[in-house]
Symmetry: C2
Subunit: 336 residues, 2 copies
DNA sequence: CCGATGTTTGGAACCGATTTCAGTTGCGTT
DNA sequence: AACGCAACTGAAATCGGTTCCAAACATCGG
C-alpha cells in the first residue's frame, strides 16, 4: 500500500528528498538518458516514496501539450460509435493519452460549438462521421491536429471504410436473389458514408439494369427507421437497404408490426454490423466494417501528426468492408 | 467571420490592446463586478477583437480546477451507459464542464488504474456502476470529489435506482402469471444493482412461497447471456429474470435457437429498458430506470460538492423504477 | 599533470493565467 | 478646498512544471 499524500507533492518535494534540484528531477523523469544513473535512481526512489504524480496542468502549460485527444461522434448510443470509442481509448492509453468524448447529438451546430470550445484543451481531434461542413470547422482546427473517421476530406488524414464496395456487395447479393426493385433509406446528407453507400448502390444497380429508389430518413435512428418504413412500403420495392443498422432495426420493427414478412415479402439490409443486428428476428444481413481497426489506426495517425512523424504511405487508409448474410434477405417475390 | 489567430493570443495581448493591465483583464472577464463599466467594456471589446480564448492549462494551474469531470463506466457499448453519458455531458456542459469518459471494460483492475492516473486531471469523478471495491479506490479519491451512480457507498453522494422495488414488480408480475419456479441470471458480484435486484426478487418470491434459483453470468454481456441460457434450461424454471437487458437478449437468442418459445414455454424479463429491448421479437419485458435523470442529477450533486454547496436533503437520491410489460412474459405452463 | 572536451547539474526565466497587496483614483463630506 | 473612504487598478508573486544557460564536474589525450 502506498500512502497517498493529503497535500499535493510537487517536483520540489521530490528534489528535496533526492538531494538534487527540481530541474534534475524533471530531467530524470522525462528523459532518463540525460541524467547520471545514480541521480536517476535517487530521483525515482524519492518520487515513488512520496507518491509523486506530475501535475498535468503545469505540464500542459509549459509544453503546450495536454495529452488529451477529443473524439467527436454524432451519437454515442449508436454501437458503432461506442465500439470505436473503446478502440480509440485503448490505443490512446497506450500512447499516454486520455480521450475527451464529445457527443454532438447529430447536430452540426453543436458539433461546431463543441469543437470550438474544446480546441484549446486537446492536442488533436478525431472527427468521427462529422455532420458539419468542413468550412465551418476549419477555422478552429487551424492550430489543432485532426484526423477524420468515416469522412474523406481534402488534405486531412483520414481512415474510412470502403463503403462503395460494401454497397456493391449488397446490391449484387440482392440482385442475385432476383430483386429488381430496390429502395435505399438514406442517412444524413452531410455524411460521406451515406453518399458513398448510395453511389455504390447506384452503380451496381444501374449496371444490372435494375431500379433504385431512395428516401431520406428523418434521422439515422431507430425512430427514423420506423417512420421511413411506410414510405418504403408505398413503393413496390422488394428489398430495402438502410443507411445503417439502427435505421434497419426501425424498419424491421415496423414491417413486422404491419405484418410484412421479412424476408418473405421484403428483404432488408443494414450497414455497420452492430452486435444487435445478429440478435433480431430474423437476424439482420449487414455490411461489417472494421470498427476496432478504424479506431486504432485513427489514433495512430493522430499521434504521428502530433509527433511530427510522416507516414510512408501517407495518412489515409480505406479499410475493406464485407457483407454478412443473415436471415433478413431472401429470394425476391414478384409482387408484394 | 472572426479572424482566428495563428499564434495564441494571451491575456497580455488583450491587456495591451485595451490599455489596461493583465490583472484587470482577468478581473473583467472572470468577475465583471470587480471593474469599472468602462474598463469592462474595453476589455471585452479587445478580447473579442483578438479572438481571445483563455488557456485552460494556465487557468487550471492557478485555480487548481480543471473544469473536467471523469465519468467512469464498465462498458460504453451498453446503451444504458451511453445514454447516461449523454445526460451527463448535457448537464456538465451547462455548468461549463467537459467530460472525460473512461471505459473500464468491466475490469476492476483497469478501473482502479484509470481512476488513479486520471485523478489529477479531473475535478471530480462520477463512478457509474463501479466494479472495484471501494477500498481500492478510496486512496486515490481522497483529494477528488466523487459521486457514485448505481451504487450506494457509505458517506459518498450517490444516485441510484430503486432496484429492489423494480425486482419486486417483476416478481409480482410473474407470480400473477402463475409462475412458481423462477431463475435469476446474475450480473457482476461487485455490482450493488445486482445485489439489490437479487434481494428484491428473493423477498417477493419467498413471500409468495415460490422458488428462485440463481446463476451468475460469465459477464453482463450478450455472450454471457447466451452462455447462461443452457444452464437455465437445465432447471425447470418457467420464467427467467436477467440482471440486465443485454444478458436477456443473449438468453432470448439462445432460447429461440433452441426452439424454446418465449413466452410460450419460458418467460423472460430484463432490467434497464434499453431501446433495443423494444425491438426484439418478442419485445422484451423490462424494468425501466430513469437514465436521463440519473445522469443529470449526478452532475448536479458533483457540482454542488465542487462548489461547496450543501443539499438540503443530502446528496443521496433513489429514483423509482417501473416495470414495462411487453411480449416476452406470459402465463406459466406447468412443465416445460 | 594539464588543458581540452564532453557530461551533469543547478539557477533562473518562462509558460498564461489568478490573486494579494499596496497604491491610485474618484467621490461625497464638511 | 481639503479630507476620508471606498472603489478600482497595476506590480509582483504564485501555481508546478520545462528548458536555456552557464557553472561544475568528470574524462581523456598528450
Amino acid at each position: 500500500m502506498t500512502d497517498e499524500p493529503v497535500v499535493t507533492v510537487t517536483i520540489k518535494d521530490v528534489a528535496r528528498l533526492a538531494g538534487v534540484s527540481p530541474a534534475s528531477v524533471s530531467r530524470a523523469l522525462a528523459d532518463p538518458g540525460q541524467v547520471r544513473p545514480g541521480t536517476r535512481e535517487r530521483v525515482h526512489r524519492a518520487a515513488a516514496a512520496l507518491g509523486y504524480h506530475p501535475n498535468q496542468a503545469a505540464h500542459a502549460l509549459t509544453t503546450g501539450r495536454t495529452r488529451m485527444i477529443g473524439l467527436v461522434v454524432p451519437d454515442i448510443t449508436n454501437p458503432i460509435f461506442s465500439t470505436i470509442f473503446q478502440a480509440v481509448q485503448g490505443r490512446a492509453r497506450e500512447g499516454g493519452y486520455s480521450v475527451l468524448l464529445v457527443d454532438t447529438g447529430e447536430d452540426p451546430a453543436t458539433e461546431v460549438d463543441l469543437v470550438r470550445t474544446l480546441a484549446r484543451q486537446v492536442d488533436g481531434f478525431l472527427l468521427c462521421s462529422p455532420r458539419a461542413a468542413q468550412e465551418y470547422l476549419d477555422p478552429f482546427l487551424r492550430a489543432t491536429a485532426v484526423v477524420t473517421i468515416n469522412h474523406r476530406g481534402r488534405r486531412v488524414p483520414c481512415v474510412t471504410s470502403d463503403n462503395a464496395d460494401g454497397a456493391r456487395q449488397v446490391a449484387e447479393h440482392l440482385l442475385a436473389l432476383g430483386h429488381r426493385r430496390l429502395a435505399y433509406v438514406a442517412g444524413p446528407a452531410a455524411s460521406s458514408d451515406n453518399r458513398e453507400r448510395l453511389r455504390g448502390l447506384r452503380a451496381a444497380v444501374a449496371a444490372a439494369g435494375a431500379e433504385l429508389t431512395d428516401f431520406t430518413a428523418v434521422s439515422p435512428t431507430y425512430d427514423g427507421g420506423t417512420a421511413a418504413a411506410d414510405l418504403v412500403l408505398a413503393t413496390s420495392a422488394t428489398a430495402v437497404i438502410a443507411f445503417n443498422d439502427v435505421i434497419a432495426l426501425g424498419l424491421l420493427n415496423r414491417f413486422t408490426a404491419r405484418g410484412i414478412g421479412v424476408p418473405q415479402q421484403i428483404s432488408l439490409v443494414g450497414f455497420d454490423d452492430i452486435p444487435f443486428a445478429a440478435m433480431t428476428n430474423p437476424p439482420l444481413t449487414s455490411v461489417a466494417i472494421a470498427k476496432q481497426q478504424i479506431g486504432r489506426t485513427a489514433v495512430d495517425f493522430l499521434l504521428d501528426l502530433l509527433d511530427g512523424r510522416q507516414r510512408p504511405g501517407g495518412s489515409r487508409l480505406m479499410l475493406p468492408t464485407h457483407l454478412i448474410v443473415r436471415g433478413s434477405t431472401g429470394p425476391s417475390v414478384l409482387t408484394r
